[in-house]
Point group: C2
Chain length 398, copies 2
Amino acid sequence: MPDSPSARLSLSRRRLLTGSAAVLGAAGIGAAAATAATRSEATAPTVPFFGPHQAGITTPPQAHAHYIALDLRPGAGADEAVALLKLWTTDGARLTAGTSALADTEPELAQAPARLTMTVGFGPTFFDRVGQSGRRPPSVRQLPHFQIDRLEERWTGGDLLLRVASDDPVTAAHAVRVLLKNVRTLATIRWTQRGFRNAVGTHAPGQTMRNLMGNLDGTVNPTPGADVDGVVWADGSGQQWFAGGTTMVVRRIAMLLDTWDELDPDARDLTMGRRQDSGAPLTGTLEHDVPDFTRTRDGIPIIPANSHIARAHARTPAERFLRQAYNYDDPPPAGTTTNAGLIFVTYQRDIDTQFLPVQRRLAQADALNTWTRPIGSAVFAIPPGVHDGQFLGQGLFE
Amino acid sequence: MPDSPSARLSLSRRRLLTGSAAVLGAAGIGAAAATAATRSEATAPTVPFFGPHQAGITTPPQAHAHYIALDLRPGAGADEAVALLKLWTTDGARLTAGTSALADTEPELAQAPARLTMTVGFGPTFFDRVGQSGRRPPSVRQLPHFQIDRLEERWTGGDLLLRVASDDPVTAAHAVRVLLKNVRTLATIRWTQRGFRNAVGTHAPGQTMRNLMGNLDGTVNPTPGADVDGVVWADGSGQQWFAGGTTMVVRRIAMLLDTWDELDPDARDLTMGRRQDSGAPLTGTLEHDVPDFTRTRDGIPIIPANSHIARAHARTPAERFLRQAYNYDDPPPAGTTTNAGLIFVTYQRDIDTQFLPVQRRLAQADALNTWTRPIGSAVFAIPPGVHDGQFLGQGLFE
């Protein structure tokens, strides 16, 4: 886990006092971070940027997240990729500490990070583009086609993934703009997805979020600490450079809310296998009660076999991953009332063994599929965290 | 001003105890509000729905706002408009109190209003559609064409305006969907604009927001209380039914951030007439210092005559209005990095005498015009507030 904010502050102050801040280079990241951390104690929580893992994955989800896929420009290769990663590392370290980026023209918009994080990933094509095809984590490749897929090119694929998230939408928008404009000679935007969850202070901390179908979303997530760490972080047994990294799946799932509205509450609950109001499985009374898929009434399973949770639940200990869902709600096309859905993001050590068995079951039969439609799909390798003086993904190039 | 939440709670309880809740009709708005207000004391602030003025205007701006223009369907007239307004009144009263709308299929998404407000307006064409052309407040008509305008049809006009705002983006999205789907047989969506300001808790309360150009936005607004009330609320001297109402201008202003970025800080400050960092006028040191447009250095005005504040400031006491600006930041078209700007909304008793003189000066010469582009424009009459048992805009139909 990354250092705590106070530990990080002490470290920065120590560096400053001993003069070792000089090794940080002209950017003066250490000094900047110390200033920001002091301020943040009063007004603006920060999430440490440096550490064994990238931030923004096991970090409790912020209220606003931008997921942006980029493609390296034609002709760009390893040199350009490294230049881009160095820029993002420098600016990401500064912005997440509440310090303006280098040459930031709106430094005032960087002063309240509000748990700002930046997370960077490499798509399957990235490894080819930078001449490192042999070091691609094997499960980071295009997902197989599922019969439920109605994928649109404009939401699919990408050489690079940039996730920027904050509890403040202005801070997030500024950080995204800074990070994108500084690399525009190196890469172009392929797609942008913007999502939201409940604002800080409007719901009890730790409460499972509801999606726009009204369902609690993320109930079965691994618990913070050793449990989620074991599910998410790669140990390097496959690719040594990837130890401490993870893999990411981004599925854009449209919700067909107009027809979903036509279901009565009982039909909804049977579709999900859970009660919409409490989130409890139909065999229980509380959200976190363990569903009993064997229980029957009059010989019929209480939780229908094709309900969402009957299909989605892990059938072996290996089939677990971290869900990081965000709502999207974009202006609807003419003549319609709603253009909403879920940016469904998962993290796991290995896509093939953890995510795919579940995804295959859902694609084959899930009562919920009638009201959802996957319209985008992408996978990325999330390189491990970065230590001060390194750049993100450096291990891939060594 | 509307009642305070506690006053409203007492009122609702009194109604309930005396049995007069029956006059509220089947919806049971009073009882629902009492339940919600009790809950809200613990988790979810509410803004009173009933009162002499609509909420959402002098209400301190919430973090998230949706501005939606609708057109009555072909053939629809006064009957359909009244039906729509009754639906919105009933659902608006419930949702803003933290109670689900009638036939709400996701009641759980209504439980944390987070200062939810609903505000309704009538465009110039609305008065013709409902056979009340003679009762249109005279200044509520299409704005004149300004030479800076590059208006796009998709952001312009509308029979009706629905503003929904909340500090929680999920609550706002749910309320918008409920309010729109319930009237879809009566009206179609013309345009939707979604904006954001700083999240609650990330900045000091009352702090002027910054727009995505980095400038403080809204410094010269009237102060809460009698000052803003005098600027905003119509007294009925023109149209008696309109007493307690106001007029609204919605301008969508794209920011040309890529070229704005090329300006050095001094050039930016001369363009605005204020310092970007502090917001102070170039003749002062603090944000709220009164600009001195007469001061010169070497015979040259310190605040340039064509700077934004030199053109925008009120030259007579009549030229004042309430600004309610929201940032927008939508996914950029292919090949570009940014699609951002301002949803610039103003409220005033009368558009002709308060807003237009300032707008004309800005259109004629404002150094900032080089980096901004008006792409949408609409005006609306905001009817007065509603009392329990009435529907919004009822006075127009009596």
